[in-house]
Structures are given as C-alpha cells and as structure tokens.
C-alpha cells in the first residue's frame, strides 16, 4: 500500500528507487560507579585516540573528495577533541566522583550545549551540534558501538533519517545519496544548506517518519518540489512523477539559464515582480540574488525563537542591514514579528491562551509589549538608511490598530532624532491583509499605508475557520474556495483605487495553478520561497495579461471550489502543458 508523507521541501528534485534508513542508533548512556579511576582514565584515553584516528581519516577522505572547505569541519572536531577544558574536567570528575567516563562526557556536552544556547546567537547556536557530535563519537568508542558509516553505502539510494550530525552531513556524496528525507531539520539547518549547494533533492520536517521504518525500503519516491515522500509508491504515482521529472529536467535548467536574460513580464508586456520569502540572511541564495526582484517577505521572527533573552537592537540591525546591502538596490520587505507570546515565553510574562491562533500574537503582542516592539522598529529604521528597506505589519484587523502601530513608529523616530542616530525617516509602510475584517475595510486601510501584502495562509485559516494541521478537517483548507478568490479581488481593487501596490506572499503565490488567475486579478508582485522562483517566472512569460483578466473574471463567477478547481486544472492542461502544479 502506498503511504504518503509531507514535509518541507528544501532542495528541489524528483527521485525514486531504493531507500535506506540511516539509523545511527540511540545510545543509552550507562551511569555507574567505578573502583579504579586510573584504569577508567586509561580507558577513556584509548577511546579518544581511536576517535582521533577516525577523525584524521575522515578529514583526509573529505579533503580528497570535497576539498578544503568541507573538510574544515573535521579540523574543528579534532580541536574539540584536544580541548583541555573537557579533559581537565573529565579527569577531575573521574577521580573525585568515581563515575564512569561516558556519563561525565554526556553531562559536559549537554551543559556546554545549554550554555551556548543561552548566548542567543543563532549562528553559533547551530555549532552546539559539533560538540555533541564529537562527544557522541568518543562515547560510542567507549561503548564499542560504532556509528554506521555513510561511506559504506555501495548503491545509490534515498536516505531517510531522524537527523544528520554535522560530520555525516559533510560527507554526503551526490553520487551515492540521491535524496534526503529527515524527520527533523529546518530550512536553515546545515543539511538544508549543504543539500542545496550539492543539488541533492531534500525534504525535512517529515513527522512520524523515522520510527516507522528500518533497514532497506525497496520502493520509495521523493518529490521535493511539493515536499512529498511516497513509501511503496503506486505505479500511477511513479508515472505522474516521471512526467513531472521529465518536464522539470527539460525546463528547470533551461529556465534558470534563460530567465536571467528575459525580463519578468507577460507575453503582452505587463511587468510582474517575482520576489523571495526568507527567514534568515543566509537564505539569500543565487535564486534570490539573480532571479528575484528582491525580498517580498522577510520573516523576522526566526531571530527571536528559542532564545532566553530577546535579540539586541544591534543584532537585529546587523541582520537586516546585511540583507539590505546584499540585495541593494532590490527592495527588502521586513515584516515585524508574527508570533504569539507562547513562542516568546522565555522572556515575557506569558499567560497561556486557550486559543493562540486567535490570541495575542503579531502586532497585538507588539502593541502589548511596546519596548520590545520599539527595539525592533529602531533596528529596522536604522538599517533602512541602506539599500531599499520597506516595513510591514502582520495581523492588522482594524484601522485603529494600524494607526496605533504607526504612532509607535513615530515615537521611535522622535527618539532616534533626539539621540542623533541616523535612520530612514520615511520608509514605505505596508499592511498585511490576512484577516477577513482587513479585507472588508481594505479601502480605508489602503488610504493609510504605502502598500498591501496579502498573506494567503492566514487569510485562508481565518476565513474558512480551518486549522490545516487538524487532519480531520485539513481537506477544508481550500485556496480555490470562491470566497478566497473574491477576497483577493476585493483587496486588489482597494489597493488599485488608492493607487498603492499590492503583492501576495502566501503559498498560493508559488502554486502555478493560480498564477494566471492572480496576474489576471491585477496583482503584479508575487513573493514565494526561492525554490519556486524559476518555475513561476517561466510560467509568467507564457501568460497573456488580457486573456488572464478575462479568465479571472470567469473564475470569480464560480459558485464552488470544485468548479474553480476543474477550471484551473483544465486551463493548465490545455494552455500551459509543460507547467507542473505543486498541488
């Protein structure tokens, strides 16, 4: 029976064949009293020597196969292995506490990882993985439980795992690893970054995967355009994927090469800006630099997550500045944080909410925590003296709220002037349209800001009253719902009447099924994850704006999502044969 899993696609491609479940094995750390500390220390020293040999060998192999840059990680690991801090403490505790080496090493690793997390620097925080990785090696050598070696993979395969430690990640070879699917990981994790540069199709964040399988899986398929993993795919699925893959390989590479030299416009010359959604500065990759018209949505909340203290104004300023400078003169739209108090609980007085999606999140949270909000606005306004920064506010539900937010911004500007700190006095200010009430008063909102950006994901959830993570009702989360299409129309019209630009930044913007409709509505700015940019840009060159407007009008008259879907599918089948829907 075919089984389907969904995750976050982080490196695009389509692959099927045999899969291997890479299981480094959970090691149980034994904890026991020892009698002879001298013997115990000797035991650990020989484990360290073995580990050193392993790492030297890995360094050499990696240097040979991948070059100096990737081998560098083992250099760092070797230094950690020689770090006096670890071994002075280890020796002392073996003698004083008469505890076994494994349990002390484990304690040390956990403590340092925790300390480093407390420093609150995202880049350095990621490096705790290295410390845990090295100590895991020593412990495994003490227990004589070797980690299975990825180098031993003889046949090319799809790799499924819980997560990959940095030293394994550094040795992924595209000839052997055809695709990677992980239960953990994020778009910004090491694996994701490396997989993109090695062009290995990769999906991360696939829930409930790892414990369900072991060993070799004869049949598996990965579609990391849509983020889907198939276990025992049916022949229908393979046929579909094969088609998609042929189209993809034929088109995508041409696209990337060709698109750079083509302006992003429809057949009849209407300019469309295709922008990127990012979460972290290091997501500004080649697609963003060369194929996008800038960043349409910079989700700044990543900087605030999993921290014990909020990021300082300087830290924020530096991140925003980096992106603005790198992409200058392209625009970068910073969105103020869009998370709830629950995610910031470690440094605010957070009261647990019954219904966080309808709770104190985004601008509501910011208006309730003015100092916190002002720090972010200061960093943004200061960074905006460089490049082309715009600022937008999420979850605006009323004109009053927009005015409150703008008032705080004016206060921040006044403070900055008084303190003689240089900042941009008039960056463009935008409103996210993602709550139904905002759609209904979009005429009024449009008169009080410089641009709109429609967030379709939240707009869908709030309009249709559907939590897409609830399996029982996930099917009701339907972007093709006539109500959604009409709300988009209404928002675009309000923006047009007020003569302000309107863009769209939810998932609908990256689904080719909707591209012609969105352009036909009059939207001329679409923001999406960088992976989708080449395909959408290629599709745009095939669209005729006049025809698209007429098509949109017809679609808006449909009375059910079924009708909308069938019209969309029919259109893409007949008019845009080579384009693949991600849905």
């Amino acid at each position: 029976m075919e089984k389907v899993y969904h995750g976050i696609p982080v490196s695009p491609g389509i692959v099927w064949g045999e899969a291997l479940v890479y299981d480094p094995g959970v090691i149980n750390i034994p904890r026991f009293k020892i009698k002879n500390p001298k013997e115990e220390y000797k035991r650990v020293q020989s484990a360290i020597d073995i580990t050193k040999e392993e790492l030297v060998l890995l360094y050499k192999k990696t240097l040979e196969n991948f070059g100096k840059k990737q081998a560098g990680i083992f250099d760092v690991h070797l230094m950690l292995l020689e770090d006096e801090t670890i071994f002075v403490e280890l020796k002392r505790r073996i003698y004083e506490e008469l505890l076994n080496a494994e349990s002390i090493l484990y304690d040390i690793a956990q403590r340092y990882a925790k300390d480093i997390k407390l420093t609150g620097n995202a880049f350095i925080e990621e490096r705790t993985a290295d410390i845990i990785d090295v100590i895991d090696r020593i412990i495994r050598n003490l227990l004589e439980q070797k980690r299975p070696d990825l180098d031993n993979i003889k046949k090319p395969c799809i790799l499924l795992s819980l997560d990959l430690p940095p030293s394994e990640t550094a040795r992924l070879h595209p000839d052997k690893i055809r695709a990677i699917v992980l239960e953990r990981g994020s778009t910004t994790s090491h694996v994701a970054i490396l997989a993109r540069s090695l062009k290995i199709p990769t999906i991360v964040g696939v829930a409930n995967l790892f414990n369900s399988y072991t060993g070799i899986i004869k049949g598996a398929a990965v579609d990391s355009i849509s983020g889907t993993l198939y276990i025992n795919p049916s022949s229908d699925t393979i046929i579909k994927l094969r088609q998609k893959k042929i189209q993809l390989s034929r088109r995508l590479h041409q696209y990337e090469k060709r698109i750079i030299s083509y302006p992003s416009q429809t057949q009849d010359g209407r300019r469309i800006s295709v922008l990127a959604n990012i979460e972290l500065p290091n997501e500004v990759d080649d697609n963003v630099k060369h194929l996008s018209a800038g960043v349409g949505l910079y989700r700044t909340e990543y900087l605030f997550l999993n921290k014990h203290t909020p990021p300082t104004e300087e830290e924020q300023y530096n991140e925003y500045l980096y992106v603005a400078k790198t992409l200058n003169p392209l625009p970068v739209t910073l969105r103020t944080i869009d998370i709830g108090g629950d995610k910031l609980a470690s440094y605010t007085n957070f009261i647990k909410e019954q219904n966080p999606q309808l709770g104190c999140r985004a601008v509501r949270f910011c208006l309730a925590h003015k100092d916190f909000f002002k720090t972010q606005l200061r960093a943004m306004l200061r960074a905006a003296t460089n490049g082309n920064i715009k600022i937008m506010f999420p979850m605006i539900s009323s004109v009053d709220e927009l005015r409150d937010v703008k008032k705080i911004m004016e206060e921040v500007k006044e403070d900055l002037s008084q303190q003689k700190v240089s900042f941009n006095k008039n960056p463009e200010i935008g409103t996210m349209i993602e709550i139904p009430s905002a759609v209904l008063i979009s005429e009024e909102l449009a008169r009080e800001c410089d641009f709109f950006s429609i967030g379709t994901n939240d707009l869908l959830q709030y309009s249709l009253a559907v939590d897409r993570n609830n399996e029982n009702i996930a099917h009701l989360y339907e972007p093709a719902h006539p109500a959604i299409l009409r709300m988009l129309k209404m928002t675009v019209l309000s923006a047009k009447n007020a003569n302000i630009p309107c863009s769209i930044c939810g998932e609908m913007a990256s689904d080719p099924l909707f591209t012609e409709f969105l352009i036909g509505l009059g939207l001329n700015s679409l923001s999406m994850s960088s992976v989708s940019i080449p395909q959408i840009r290629a599709l745009i060159t095939k669209i005729n704006y006049a025809e698209a407007s007429e098509f949109s009008e017809r679609l808006l008259k449909c009375s059910s999502s079924k009708e909308v879907r069938s019209m969309l599918n029919e259109r893409i089948r007949t008019k845009y044969k080579n384009i693949i829907s991600i849905a």
Binding site: D75, M79, T85, I86, I116, N121, I124, N318
Partner: protein, 92 residues
C-alpha cells in the same frame, strides 16, 4: 620570572561572529604562546586556548571583547590575536 600583563579591547568584524572555525583559528594561534590568554565578554571570562570555551562566549558581529594575556610573551600573543580578529578570520 617576567610576568607581563597586557590588555586590549578587540572588536568582532566578521558577519557570522566567533563561530566554530574562528574559534579553532584562535586556539591554534594562541597555543604557540606560553602566556595565559583570556577573553572577557558579557561578564564571562574564557580561556582563549579552548575551542569550547571560546564558542561559549557567543560573541556576535560588532561585539567588543576584552582580551587579557599574562606571561613573558603576552604582548606578542595579543598582537597576533588582534590581527586575527581584524582579518575577520578570513571571512567577510
């Protein structure tokens, strides 16, 4: 015994801050000296000859670190340390 003591404020200029690779560079350079070298940031004092300890400083771009060296070659140790930081650890 010649017990020199030198202090210097050193600024982090590379955009990623003092992460693993820079930490390794610092340690490799400082191990050549007899002097004890410490880095103080955010009220924490760390040994500049330990990758682990340097990492746990968590010093981001633009942070200012107080470096202290004690020992007969303290002066040259801090000079080299400053050069390494100024070079941005060979990053941007």
């Amino acid at each position: 015994m010649n017990n020199n003591r030198t202090e210097k404020i050193i600024k982090v200029v590379n955009s990623l801050g003092v992460h693993a690779r820079p930490a390794a560079m610092i340690v490799r350079a400082m191990q050549k000296y007899d002097a004890h070298v410490y880095l103080i940031y955010n009220g924490n004092r760390r040994n500049a000859k330990s990758v682990l300890q340097i990492l746990s400083l968590g010093a981001p771009k633009d942070s200012e670190i107080l470096a202290i060296a004690e020992g007969k070659d303290a002066h040259s140790a801090l000079q080299e340390l400053e050069d390494i930081f100024e070079s941005g650890f060979g990053e941007e």
